[in-house]
Amino acid sequence: MKTQGKGSLLACCLAAALGLYLAASPAGAADKVVKIGNVEPLSGPSASVGVQGKQAREMAVEEINAAGGIKSLGGAKLELVYADSKSDPTVGVTETERLINTEKVNLMTGCWNSAVTYPATQVAERYGIPFVVPVAVRDTITERGFKNVFRVAAKDSWWVRDQFRFLKDMQEETGTKLKTIAFVFENGDWGTGFAEKWRELAKKDGYQIVLDEPYPSTATDLTPVVTKLKSANPDVVMLVSNAADAILLTNTMAEMQVKPKVVLASGGGHADPKFLENTGDTAYGIFDEVEWNTDVNKPGAKETNAKFKKKYGYDLTGESVDAYAAMYVIADALERAGSTDPAKIREALAATNLTSGPAMIVSYDGVEFDKDGQNKNAGIVIVQVAKVDGKPERVTVWPKAARRAGYTPVFPANK
């Protein structure tokens, strides 16, 4: 009896071990999985956007896998492997190395911060691993002649280009004439970079620059800046602001009764979900430039946003939509490559011409990379803060094709 008990216990153990082995082996047979390495800021100052990007990727990959994975690879599933960059370029580089060498990922995505993406893509280029950049706007990321870097989002200089296109289009549409322009921007890398390009384009479009004012983002009082703005009395005010200063500027402008015909912001602080909460009715009429808006007039956008909001509790943002779309860009390339070989994936990515499918909730019309890997079609939308159902809401107004049905932009916002 006793020995028999021991024997059956042993048999049990063996059976359990075998069972475990059997259960584990399908996943171990690696060729059914495509590993995507993702370097994102999951902690530190940009953690919130990093997490937004992560959740958007997860939702896209779930959808792709649920729809049968990559069919040309026998229904291979996508698997996301994450690494935290902490917004630190050095960490981003080591994590990229680790994902490529230790995790053996088939391709990479990331990294949101331009400062991290720039060196991380360099690592991937060296190993010949394709690197899809959903967002990271610094121009030079796709201007180094790299073969393996593909950016879905628009680059920095296009933001400024589109701001002036918007002004031009709207003046034509409404028959308004705008002559004088003022630049007010935070004095960091971002603001000064924008201002440089503004000066160039304003000159080209024949505006008269009446104020060119950098300010420190940490200022306790922006009334001096607004006072200057009041005496300069421009038709257009262009802004680059971080979160706190966007609120302070908007409220101070209302207080000092500064009412330029057009106020055009550049995302950032003005696009922060907290901005409207903190400004209330002082923000009406402001135009802001963003990658995406919840009301963008594209098929599927509303449904995808509703699904995302239900799952994670907040709206999709420009960043997360680009991350979401990037997963479909990757799936499309894998489907055409029919291989997990990085070189084959690269060829397929380079030949991308995606104009339909779930990825097309983006504000632009398609994904097609130029020889440097920049999506030629990437664009930006301009929204206006308007009163909808008694509450301030961001309404898409430009480009005209993406404009919310039935909305007429208030342009100029002040007479």
């Binding site: 950098p214 420190p216 306790t220 009082d221 001096p224 006072t227 005496s231 609120i247 207080e255 907290k274």
Partner: protein
Amino acid sequence: MTAVIQATLNGIMMGAMYGLTALGLTLIFGVMKVVNFAHGSLLMVGMFSAYWLIKLTGIHPYLALLIVPPILYFFGYYLQDLVIKPVFRAERQVREPLTVIIVTTGVWYVLDNLALMLFGAEYRTVRTAISNKSFALGSFIVSIPKFSGFVIAVATAVGLALFMRKTKIGMALRATSLDREAANLMGIDQYKVYNIAFGLGTAIAGIAGCVLIPFYYVYPSVGVVFDIRAFIIVVLGGLGSIPGALLGGLVIGLIESVFSQFMASTWTEAIIYAIFLIILFVKPSGFFGNKQDW
């Protein structure tokens, strides 16, 4: 010219409020000879108290002035009594106790991170009856929240100065400030005086919180922005001097507002620090400072 006068008006109003944020710091230093690094955090606590009170009850922001400062007084009183005093006792032989400064730094981090945990990092403002309201003074625009902030700041400084001169507690505070040993021998309970000084300093941070909240936003590390300014103001006006804090605040406010009409506002920051350095070289005791504090 209009812009300069407008900027001067604004500079005076903001300056008085900067002075108010520095008043508690200078009071605590004057009495305790301790640089209170937690001062900015106490201001943050004051701002959050005013924020929640107004947000939840919807009362007029200046009614909060009757509620927030007393609460903050007890907060400061017991903070000193329970956290700072024990360290102070251990270091009682030293004129400017360094460990106490380190403790206040600890209090700063604890308070800031506690607020971060409780309320998150986001910026918050509350719409009040006077937010974004202004009145015209000839061709100039005067912001109502800033104007009342100016009045309250000056009233607080005058009130505090009178309190220090006319009342018994005020005299005890001044006596301890001059010579804590001698005050002790005269029967003044040194630690009780410190509790009161810290309580008063914190209550003033509460007043500043109520004054700022109608036009400024609050977030857990908002204190840091005002703190740096408060330190400069205190040194400029003279450590421990009440009129000095107000004057120092006005100087900073005016430089910031008027100078930026003639140059990029980024520059005024540099000018403020340059003036700060010059004062340290030329008159290290500040406008009204006590020489023996150096």
